[in-house]
Symmetry: C4
Subunit: 219 residues, 4 copies
């Protein structure tokens, strides 16, 4: 689609492909995974709806955490492809592995929401935490691979932006790992930390954007 | 994908991103949420199909209302991104929160259709109404944020068009709020008003387009 | 996304919108509806798999008919938007109504497959046939609306191509209507005709393309 | 969407269409099929989660094989459309048939995972294997059709790249056919081979990319 607009491809080193389809396929998987989460919520049948919905709190909490995680990963992914001019087979492969863990999340979310207050809790939290941690690690790996490939990296962005994004990704990875490990001791704590991180990812740009705006206004 | 066509980004203020991926991801979530609604419809098993389908009227009514709502929100969303040249982290965050309520709708629709004629009716209508109202409010917020950001707003449209869209959004929000409140007293009334509003949103452009056409013809 | 490439919009008559998002949203709904069909197929649990799968023939037949129908409608839709330069509110509204019937098809397909050999057969075939007929009629309406709007119609195609497409759409509509009516008398006949039409729609371009190729070769 | 950027269409031979919508629709079906696979995984309810998850190994194995297969087919498909400048009705029809087998895969995957250790195993493996083999054959057919149509083939790539892709496709087809036939004798062996092939498809570009990098470094 974007083929005719990309810089003329060198036929000899023809591996770099337009990035349009990788973006479209990834957007599709992110959008479907995030929307399928709703199918895991059970519609109560009884008369006292409020009470039954309240009893479903683990499902709603898990839903929110996973929605925020996928949303945050998608924001990171779309920032990442901003830094990229073209893709190659390796980037596509890494991306597929990332999407494997994204599309697996409705399963681990369901596992979490069904066992958040029974004896399987620690196991469910660990599996869910590993899913988030591996997902975050793959986004970082994707980014490092792209940044280190001169024929893939775009060049119309500032170095500080790149470093800011890298810092953000590293922080997310450290936090997810820490929370997953903490979950081995106090499972619910891990879920709350996951929720906090995801909210942070979503809300942080707002704060930065406000600060940037004020800075612009002062100039 | 659209990166190379956007006006050259200023590396110092590099937050504004191409809008293509936000559009693609949103289109995905809207399209999936609207299509998943069909999974909530139960296929009758018995012999007298017509009678059993007729008994399912709450499910069909809820399906139509939600389809029209998501369709209307999608039209508003695609008009909105017409007014936008680029996106930033804050717009993406707001958009994700909007999509959270869009992708949650299959759940509240199912809640509504299952309780539209039992004792949970008032509760189900209230929750469904809040979902629609918050969704409409978030579309308005998204629009206000974009319109107030000089580095995001596009400039190839008439001011009166912008004001027309703003008026439309405000009217929708007032009507959804009023209907949700009315639903606390007469639940079914709220559903009928929701249906009316959604139909209005879908049909209104037709009327305006006819009027515009006649005006053009007279010139 | 395509905004900057469209011919400069006249701010006074700003209704015509870029067609990119209508295409993306429609592609999404067509793709999801066609893929959700598979969820209606039941995986047999017993030991004699071949026999159990054979007993499920109505489900497989209905699956194939609906897949071919949605596929054919999608081909028609993507040809249709080829004839269109921009969209307006009315076209979007008509398109949403078309998508309503496309995304409703998994339900009527399931209805058909569950009642194809019991007493609900005639009813199920009628409802399924109406779904196909109304869908085909809406595609035609969409096309007629676009063709009659000078500010929407593209102009880089031959008139004969336009008329060929129109003829094709009219024929499809006549056949679907006839088959649905025939189904009131002999239900299974209608299903076979639906299947035949869908196959025709899919295979016809192949025949025409071959003929065109031979003609080119003779030149 | 891409209409205005394509080389000016010859009105007389107007069959070739922009490829954008075929890519978008295909990306949608691939993305949905790959994400729907997760719905086939059962969330265990009991207390000993690890043991119950371990008992579900056929489902996880089938999930991984199908994910890798669809992922690999999608990579092949996006490479394929790189070789294509425009599409015609025949290519769209072939593509729809390919997508039929892609979107059918969640069903045959579920069949496989439910019968991988009971008496239906051989049948399930055969049906699953046929699904993969026919899918791979259709991708090859799509490619051969495009490569043999001068008005469709793009011309900004090296011949050796084309031949490399052709070789890769032929190898995949031979392996899938061999594994399916082997499965008639030792069913589980076929599944392991399918898994191996899919992994190979995904990992092979990584190896080649590394080699290419080293070669570039030596220059």
């Amino acid at each position: 689609m974007a083929g005719t607009h990309e810089p003329a491809a060198n036929p000899a080193a023809s591996r770099p492909l337009p990035k349009g389809r990788m973006e479209a396929f990834s957007d599709g998987v992110f959008a479907i995974a995030v929307t399928l989460l709703v199918l895991e919520l059970e519609v109560p049948d009884g008369a006292d709806l409020w009470q039954e919905l309240a009893r479903e709190w683990p499902a709603f909490l898990a839903y929110l955490v996973s929605f925020a995680f996928i949303g945050g990963q998608w924001v990171a992914h779309s920032t990442l492809t901003r830094f990229v001019r073209a893709v190659d087979g390796q980037l596509m492969r890494l991306n597929l592995v990332l999407l494997l863990f994204v599309s697996f999340l409705p399963f681990t979310t369901s596992l979490l929401s069904r066992h958040l207050d029974d004896t399987g809790e620690a196991t469910a939290v660990l599996i869910f935490g590993l899913n988030l941690t591996i997902g975050a690690a793959l986004t970082s790996a994707l980014f490092r691979y792209a940044a280190s490939s001169p024929e893939l990296a775009a060049d119309d962005f500032a170095d500080e932006e790149l470093r800011g994004f890298e810092r953000e990704r590293r922080l997310a990875l450290v936090l997810y790992t820490a929370a997953t490990l903490a979950g081995l001791v106090v499972p619910v704590l891990a879920v709350l930390v996951f929720f906090g991180i995801s909210m942070l990812i979503l809300i942080e740009p707002l704060v930065r954007s406000r600060r940037h705006r004020k800075a612009s206004a002062r100039e």
